[in-house]
């Protein structure tokens, strides 16, 4: 398979971690020996299932509960359709474009530092005996696919209750192709990749790739699609807060697959990733709760769930390098800042980010990405920096990757939405919006309870 090598994120990330951890065996070689570890495989299969579970039904419920009853199916359907379509695209070209390493060279910047080739379309050459690191490559393909599914699914929260299904589908395909795949490649494709190798950015489980990427797309989309009818004038309460809490719980549980799975092994790094994920999440939830209690007079269920998600988002890039104390710091900061973003900032600028995709994923992702540079410090129980790198340099690298992601995703989103608008129109008409998208776009009603 010319131009398409199996060496992939595994190698890139493991090399970095290997470097950081110092004392351990030179894991960078692991990718060369084709030995499957049943333990690592067991965990990664499970982790992949957990990350899919985050989207279906986790995210679908988290979002579905927050919209009005007349639009609940539209949200669930969008998550389902994205999961299905991205699965196909991933197999056809996504995995290849994201992870093929043809033309890449350690320390060298070229086009392939930004994006991979299409030599591995249709997963050509991948069989049950292909190996990636210590796991079957099929499992690596699957694990990464679940990330490629949830990221566009995250965006739908921003334009919920008003965007046309057809437009949403088209935009998702465009954005996936031109924003998700390149940013993923830059971060995780290994030697020669812009973020991961050249800049030495720490993004263990997808702060840039997933959360900032999606958060910015959400912000652009909610502005370009426009506000919901009646936004700001009439109440648009969640139709089922229990669904939102179930969804948040599933996100929480599934996120262990996301973060601890990103170790690509069932080892101490995975274990610590799980632990710091839990700590940051708990801290963020508690922080949000007390913020509301203090500033609103009451702690709310939607609030604590949102806080938990903010913590999950922010710890994501740091989960492979931060320790318990760093996790507390990240959890606290993310809840604080996301709280402000979702309550004050949105009100101030008046965009209708329906389910706070930008406020939680965009802002939380940025907070996390930057603090990852801080919390890798051994002074905060972190694993330390690569040789010759200090906190300042690391934070600077983190910020650079944030900026590139913001600009890249923002640009792709603007152009993509513009095109889709020309092609099919972005927005459901007033009558459809008033009646609800469930009936008008899908011919169904969520509930027939009587």
């Amino acid at each position: 398979m010319r131009g398409f090598s199996l060496t992939s994120r595994t190698a890139g990330k493991l090399a970095l971690i290997g470097l950081l951890l110092g004392g351990l065996a030179p894991v960078a070689q692991a990718a060369d020996e084709a030995t499957i570890s049943s333990g690592d495989t067991a965990w990664l299969i499970t982790a992949s299932a957990l990350v899919l579970f985050m989207t279906l039904p986790g995210l679908a419920l988290f979002y579905g509960g927050l919209v009005r009853a007349k639009n609940v199916l539209s949200v669930l359907m969008q998550c389902f359709a994205i999961a299905s379509v991205m699965t196909l695209l991933w197999v056809v070209y996504g995995y290849s474009v994201a992870f093929s390493t043809g033309g890449m060279e350690q320390g060298v910047f070229n086009l392939n530092s930004l994006v991979g080739g299409v030599g591995g379309m249709f997963l050509r050459g991948i069989g049950p005996d292909s190996v990636s690191g210590t796991i079957p490559e099929a499992v690596f393909v699957m694990f990464q696919m679940t990330f490629a599914i949830i990221t566009p699914a995250l965006i739908v929260g921003a334009f919920a209750e008003r965007m046309k299904f057809k437009a949403m589908m088209l935009f998702s395909v465009i954005w996936f192709t031109f924003s998700y795949l390149p940013v993923c490649h830059m971060a995780w494709a290994g030697d020669g990749s812009l973020f991961g190798d050249l800049w030495g950015v720490l993004d263990f489980a997808g702060g840039t790739v997933v959360h900032i990427n999606a958060g910015i797309a959400g912000l652009v989309a909610c502005i370009m699609v426009g506000k919901r009818l009646g936004y700001g004038r009439e109440p648009i309460p969640p139709h089922s807060v229990p669904f939102t809490l179930i969804g948040a719980s599933m996100l929480w549980v599934g996120w262990f697959g996301f973060n601890a799975g990103s170790a690509l092994k069932a080892d101490g790094s995975a274990g610590m990733a799980m632990l710091v994920t839990q700590i940051a999440t708990g801290t963020a939830a508690v922080t949000w709760m007390f913020m509301e209690w203090t500033f609103r007079g009451l702690p709310t269920a939607v609030g604590i769930a949102t806080g938990a998600v903010a913590g999950l988002v922010a710890i994501t890039p740091a989960s492979g390098t931060a320790g318990p104390v760093g996790a507390i710091l990240i959890g606290f900061a993310s809840a604080l800042i996301c709280y402000i973003a979702a309550t004050k900032l949105k009100a101030r600028f008046g965009y209708d980010d329906s389910l706070d995709v930008f406020g939680v994923h965009g802002v939380g992702g940025i907070v996390g990405a930057v603090l990852t540079g801080v919390c890798a410090s051994t002074a905060l129980q972190g694993v330390g920096y690569a040789e010759g790198v200090g906190m300042g340099a690391q934070v600077f690298a983190q910020i650079k990757s944030v900026l590139v992601t913001v600009l890249w995703s923002g640009g792709v989103s603007v152009v993509g939405l513009f095109l889709v608008d020309k092609l099919v129109g972005l927005r459901a008409n007033e009558e459809m919006e008033t009646i609800g998208l469930d009936l008008t776009e899908h011919g169904e009603e969520g509930y027939h309870l009587a």
Partner: protein, 112 residues
């Protein structure tokens, strides 16, 4: 015949039903409604937004009965539904011309 419509607080329904049974009312129809009046509603908070709901859950009890049973029934409702706090609700009485029991075709008082 008269029709009594009473809008009451939901948690008084059981008491009202019993009080009506005592004065011989054996049938009624009940609807969940929302009331708007002097009683203020509540505030809800969802992330960025906070809003006031003016409508308060109430129960509407309707029954049709013969003229002579009307006043005792009204009195019974008022007594059973009263808590003394704002929002206890109202009782309205109006005239009904015809009543039919679907099962038997019985008419007027016999239908009740």
């Amino acid at each position: 015949m008269k029709k009594i419509e009473a809008v009451i607080k939901p948690f008084r329904l059981e008491e009202v039903k019993e009080a009506l049974a005592e004065v011989g009312v054996e049938g009624m129809t009940v609807t969940e409604v929302k009331g708007f009046g002097r009683q203020r509603g509540h505030t809800e908070i969802y992330r960025g937004s906070e809003y006031t709901v003016d409508f308060v859950p109430k129960i509407k009890v309707e029954m049709v009965l013969s003229d002579e049973r009307c006043e005792p029934a009204v009195a019974a409702i008022v007594k059973a539904a009263r808590t003394g706090k704002i929002g206890d609700g109202k009782v309205f009485v109006s005239a009904v011309e015809t009543a039919v029991r679907i099962r038997t075709g019985d008419r007027e008082e016999a239908a009740l």
